[in-house]
Symmetry: none
Subunit: 304 residues, 3 copies
């Protein structure tokens, strides 16, 4: 067992309690990680006390990123030991965080070319559900939050909308061509100003094999029964982000759900925010995560 050489240079070193505070990882856990998996190997004082360098703390943060993605602790070490392949090439495999940052920045600066490259690249490399869960959903949440502050960001919103509409629309179109599966109507809640969630929901459902009829403009709730009927849909899937003045929806949606002859489902952030409003109604809550939502949909549509 070799300890790092104590470097007398002016690099700051932190004791374990500080690292714990900075990263949010219990110090006991930090020690366990070191002992069990050799994940981090800080310097030691002559008495044996741990002294963490900046690099070590960054390493802990990278560990946390992997954990957040669902990778088991026991598997993280190998991932960290191959940093050059992973970290050096910017459009790298699996680095969703940096991809998301790039994405957000591309939208912010109206760099449509970059946006396009990121879209193509992500969807070419990973399964749709992963792209949505790891990249697009978080990125849009981040953007929405940022936009809620500033006023003048309508342009970014609109351009991203236009962009996603075309791309996702084309994908859905082609998928529909070769699918005989149950038809879904995917739409946004009337109060949702941006159609992002409906678009992503449509993409997710289409990738899962459903035939999707997307309605990406505002449509009064009252017209949905006709839509379901005319289009022969097996379920109605409504998606939305925030809902500011949800009164109308709260009252009308349960009624729609009873009236309709097919399941009426709700997904996206609103399904979390307004969860309480729809208890004991026929409205099916599919949760915030769009990937999971599609999963749950399966048992509802195909089961019923």
């Amino acid at each position: 067992m070799t300890y790092k050489v104590l470097d007398s240079s002016a690099a700051p070193l932190y004791p374990i309690r500080e690292v714990s505070r900075l990263t949010g990882v219990n110090s006991v856990t930090l020690r366990a990680w070191e002992r069990r998996y050799g994940l981090i190997r800080p310097q030691r004082t002559p008495k044996g006390h741990r002294l963490y360098a900046r690099d070590d703390i960054e390493r802990v943060e990278r560990i946390l990123q992997w954990l957040n993605r669902g990778v088991p602790v026991s598997q993280v070490r190998e991932l960290l030991d191959q940093p050059q392949a992973a970290e050096t090439s910017p459009p790298q495999v699996g680095d969703w965080d940096s991809q998301r940052q790039h994405l957000v920045h591309a939208v912010d600066s109206l760099d449509m070319g970059r946006l396009e490259a990121l879209f193509n690249q992500s969807l070419a490399l990973y399964p749709v559900s992963l792209c949505i869960a790891e990249l697009w959903q978080p990125a849009i949440e981040q953007l929405e939050e940022r936009w809620s502050d500033q006023f003048g960001a309508t342009l970014q919103r609109r351009l991203l909308e236009t962009f996603l509409r075309t791309r996702i629309g084309t994908r859905i179109y082609h998928a529909n061509q070769s699918s005989n599966a149950r038809e879904l109507v995917v739409a946004r809640l009337p109060e949702d100003s941006s159609g992002f969630w409906a678009l992503l929901m449509g993409l997710a459902a289409s990738a899962a094999g459903y035939r999707v009829q997307l309605i990406d403009g505002e449509l009064p709730l009252g017209e949905f029964p006709m839509a379901i009927d005319c289009l022969g849909a097996k379920a109605l899937l409504l998606a939305s982000g925030q809902a500011e003045r949800g009164e109308v929806v709260r009252r009308q949606l349960p009624r729609l759900a009873e009236q309709a002859e097919v399941p009426v489902c709700l997904a996206g952030p609103i399904a979390r925010i307004r969860a309480g409003d729809f208890e004991n109604t026929s409205v099916v809550l599919l949760g915030e995560d769009l990937g999971q939502a599609v999963g749950r949909l399966r048992s509802i549509v195909d089961g019923g």
Copy 2:
């Protein structure tokens, strides 16, 4: 009795329930046809469950065609075993009037399949400018007029919008890839509730060789200068149908036109209706006809 050879190739096989769902023939009936007349002979699993290939499903559909013509089930088999003559009705050429009627009817009855066929067929046979001038522009005018009466037609509106967005968006996207021409920003006037005119305008401009950045959502007029700037556009093209309360636009648009460093143009029905409002301002009126509008644009953009 010979069953088909089990083919190890990757042809999907469907159980009887799926065949029943796809063809509308009760599964009991399907079995009866097989037992009594040997009409279809699907593969079987080792345990005896039927597995239908695509060919089998098509066969069922042909059976239904004969039945619809009044042929008794017992006679169908002989008919199927004969090579069938191709029966294709070639699309009529140049009959724009009837095409438009079909189009309007397809939208009215939410027959998305028909809508798609008409779109594909028209654009495959005729130049874009002709399709717009003879088919899409008149059809949308007709629809808009009809919709202005009824209230509940939002669904039709939205579905047509969604449809056109995807198709036109894709076309513009690909045209942009292979074009180095002047960039245009095409958008709708803030007051235009439907984006049809902006979409058609974008299609026309793109087909004429321009790089088009489409903004198909509502954007406050105040944000356009930034849009033009960031996107490096050579002109701003606003399109719109009717505009009821045009006060805001009437006042703001001229100001925008003076402020902007590139020509600000107006096209679509509004350019006729509000023609008087913009005399003696910097706003360039391109007229109602979108094809002509693009023509005039050339002298403005490429000339300047």
Copy 3:
């Protein structure tokens, strides 16, 4: 029972709960699929815990697609093991390769309905120049090559010719109606047995805005001067694929080029093959790629 080789590269591995979350498939079900049908075989830790790679997750998604199309679980495995089959990879967005394969196959099997669908769909979604460059030109090259071997393929040839003549002819006709641009005569070389290249060339030129007069039957070179003259053409555009015994052309074409009062241009594969033959003559070689050919044409016709 063989486990996958543990790969030391930095690929993230996910435990079953994460896969379940991402795909929406209950983890119990995932295990059942593995046990019963061997559908997915993830790596294992030394203690037997499953570790799914990204590939595995994609595999689960593909499974779900088949399930949604109604294929029974027990049948899915075979489908997954044959990924090259046409059914498995539905025509993706911009996936020209697969579109071309479909096209070639449709022609081969005389499936005119499919041929028409592909024609319509490609031209409806993408700009003409792109369709030619990415789909039609390569497809025809592929077909020509295939046909050069077999003898009995004349039927395919003729049917494709008839098909393209009608479609492209209609398009050119209508484009001419609304164009005031320079007139071109597009024809095939007398020795070219099939008119494909002339047809595509005509389509490309027409889409680029020229008025095109198409001559799609064989015409002796000697008659072209009169044709040019009578039709008031600004250039003569000859297109051809292979040319076996090019003697006649080699001698006559330069003479024609000198004689004629307008540029005489050559495009298509022959422009590459016989490039050497026309050095130091007045014949303008536009190259094999028809899209580029039109581009070069512009400087020649509009410049001269």
